[in-house]
């Protein structure tokens, strides 16, 4: 058998059934071997699309996503998707072709140092120099991608290694205990359970909880990654502590839960930011004190003691030193924490804030009001639907107004904030969940970043529903120019956009365009009832902004809801 065949057998042994990729010279032996493998390969129309589709699969299933590209430009086209997976802790294995071993370091055709390029954006990477090591490399790559805090792993495979003749996999596959470590220490196996939480940290946390009168739970993406959604819900039910979520935490407790105060941070709700700034105890669960969430760090939750629970020791004390640090399995940690708290006056206060600052959707004008439309769409979409966002104002409107059931159903590029994420990620989600409703909410800027993937949707007849919120602008940047650059617009105008409905039709995808509130209900019905893919092109007000907004570097109590430039206009997207 060849190295390429051995690679595929090894992937099969990991349970891989689907791969997204794009062929080329150095990876050709693997593409040849694919013809005889049960693994299904999905051809995207750009390698970045392959990386994001694999991410969509991974984020929506919790399994490792696999993408593949040739050396040189194919490999570099994966880089954004790898960085995105790194910042959002997504388990991803990226397999790249490399020039033959004897040509490495000679500036050969399509040679780039993929290992070097990706060094700071991977959990680990391998340049496979011995064909016989392929099974162990694959086993360890998958274990590393999944274990602890998940992340991306690169396997760079020289063409001659893929072509080399090698003995096959042992008959019985590669049992865990027989897998010799690559490198010095190897990686824990996929079966390794997360470490139990430390007893000292738990004891400190219990004391802090008992002493607290105004606690707030600040829960993030680590909750879902640690399979701790149920444990969080039990903890909230048992303690009655009000909850704020980060962008990636949304859905940890359902959006309509009475104790949910909203997302915190730059585009958070007033109630959430207020509660955090006023609390005396912050129970930080699977979060990393990201600047978009904390605002000015030194003034974040200034009166709070902090309990920080995380699987990654490097997060504890990275930005805020906790009074109790609990590293390990979040499920066990949450179940072990104190429950009996006497905080009714605080709960009452939070309820009051939530009530006072609830969203209003009664926009007085005829144009489509995006927050109201998104809310309606999320309420109308069947239970279990996925929403996959791009990056910009529309992404924040989804975060603010969508009714989330579970964090896994909300896919968004939070850490890297990559425009172009949405469409290909939705492809991966739809392939992983063929029966589910998958909605891609995108902007007129973002969709053109990976618009070629409409061809992938058509080819595989994926019933992805695409909603393009078209404000004829790079809206988020325009809003910042309006708010912080004296309304001097620089290179944000997209008034010469193509007709997105026509674009979709050119790819064989049915489409509909609307620009009036009265058209929304009918359009959403059509969208949700359509059996195949569909694109809904929604014209919205160019000047609409996302409120509230905490200016970068300000503390989270300094939320603004209007800019100088927009003062004359009605501000409807406010709390």
């Amino acid at each position: 058998m060849t190295g390429a065949e051995l690679l595929l057998r090894s992937l099969e042994a990991e349970g891989v059934e689907k791969i997204w990729g794009y062929p080329g010279g150095a990876i050709m032996p693997v593409y040849d071997a694919l013809l005889d493998s049960p693994i299904r390969h999905y051809l995207t129309r750009h390698e970045q699309g392959a990386a994001f589709a694999a991410q969509g699969y991974a984020r929506s299933t919790g399994e490792v996503g696999v993408c593949m590209a040739t050396s040189g430009p194919g490999a570099t086209n994966l880089v954004t998707g790898i960085a995105d997976a790194y910042l959002d802790s997504v388990p991803l294995v990226a397999i790249t072709g490399q020039v033959p071993r004897h040509l490495i370091g000679t500036d050969a055709f399509q040679e780039v140092d993929m290992l070097g390029i990706t060094l700071p954006i991977v959990k680990h990477s391998y340049l496979v120099t011995e064909p016989e090591s392929i099974p162990q490399v694959v086993r360890q790559a998958f274990a590393t991608a999944r274990e602890g805090r998940p992340g991306p792993v690169v396997i760079d495979l020289p063409k001659d290694v893929a072509q080399a003749e090698v003995p096959g996999l042992p008959e019985a596959g590669l049992p865990e205990k027989c897998a010799p470590a690559i490198g010095l220490f190897g990686a824990p196996s996929a079966a390794t359970p997360p470490d139990p939480p430390g007893a000292d940290g738990l004891a400190d946390a219990t004391e802090l909880l008992r002493a607290s009168q105004r606690p707030v739970i600040y829960a993030g993406g680590g909750v879902e990654k640690g399979a701790a959604v149920d444990a969080l819900r039990r903890f909230v039910a048992g303690t009655g502590i009000p909850v704020v979520h980060t962008l990636h935490g949304l859905g940890g407790i359902a959006s309509d839960h009475p104790l949910f105060l909203g997302m915190l941070g730059m585009h958070g709700t007033r109630a959430a930011n207020h509660a955090v700034q006023e609390c005396d105890l912050l129970v930080a669960i699977g979060v990393r004190f990201d600047d978009r969430a904390t605002g000015k760090l030194s003034e974040f939750a200034p009166e709070a003691r902090v309990i920080h629970l995380d699987i990654d020791a490097a997060e504890l004390g990275k930005l805020r030193v906790p009074h109790a640090a609990v590293r390990g399995d979040l499920r066990l940690a949450l179940d072990a924490l104190e429950r009996s708290l006497d905080i009714e006056p605080w709960r009452q206060q939070c309820r009051e804030w939530k009530q006072r600052w609830q969203w209003r959707y009664d926009a007085p004008f005829d144009e489509v009001y995006a927050p109201a439309m998104l809310r309606q769409l999320s309420q109308q979409a069947p239970s279990g639907s996925f929403v996959v966002c791009d990056v910009g104002q529309h992404q924040m409107w989804v975060a603010q107004h969508w009714c989330f059931e579970h964090p896994r159903q909300h896919l968004t590029s939070g850490g890297l904030g990559t425009m172009g994420f949405g469409l290909p990620a939705a492809i991966g989600v739809q392939i992983a969940h063929p029966e589910a409703t998958v909605l891609n909410v995108t902007g007129d800027g973002s969709i053109l970043m990976n618009v070629q993937e409409l061809a992938t949707i058509r080819r595989y007849n994926l019933p992805v529903k695409i909603v393009v919120l078209d404000n004829s602008a790079l809206g988020m940047v325009r809003q910042w120019q309006e708010c912080f650059f004296d309304n001097r617009e620089s290179e944000v105008d997209l008034s010469d956009n193509p007709d997105f409905a026509e674009v979709a039709r050119a790819f064989g995808i049915p489409a509909l365009a609307i620009d009036r509130t009265q058209q929304v209900a009918g359009a959403l019905d059509l969208l949700l009832e359509s059996r195949g893919p569909m694109l809904l092109h929604v014209h919205i007000d160019r000047q609409a902004n996302v409120w509230p907004l905490v200016p970068a570097g300000a503390n989270n109590s300094q939320m603004i809801e209007t800019s100088q430039a927009s003062q004359s206009k009605p501000v409807t997207a406010s709390l």
């Binding site: 060094l119 700071p120 680990h124 490198g183 030194s298 009166e303 805020r320 030193v321 009074h323």
Partner: protein, 87 residues
């Protein structure tokens, strides 16, 4: 702010590159570095590193411990004052 670390890393040169890349990206300067091939222990490299920076050496050591081909043997932080703790 400054401190010293002792580590065992995999024989391949990429392990050293990875280690130094984390040190740089997490905001530290290398003040001294010694790497010696250990002929008894799987040909690993024993690395002794003195670093300085604005952030916590303790946290840096935890970032380094996360590397798959790196084992932290010892860490000594001279002084710590970086991350904030509200009281």
């Amino acid at each position: 702010m400054s401190g010293s670390l002792a580590l065992d890393i995999s024989p391949g040169t990429s392990a050293l590159e990875r280690l130094l890349s984390v040190v740089r990206r997490r905001g530290f300067h290398v003040d001294a570095l010694q790497a010696v091939r250990n002929h008894h222990k799987n040909r690993s490299l024993t690395v002794e590193l003195t670093v300085s920076g604005e952030r916590s050496v303790e946290v840096l050591s935890r970032h380094l411990s996360n590397l798959a081909d790196c084992r932290l043997v010892a860490v000594h932080a001279d002084s710590e004052c970086s991350a904030r703790r509200a009281s």
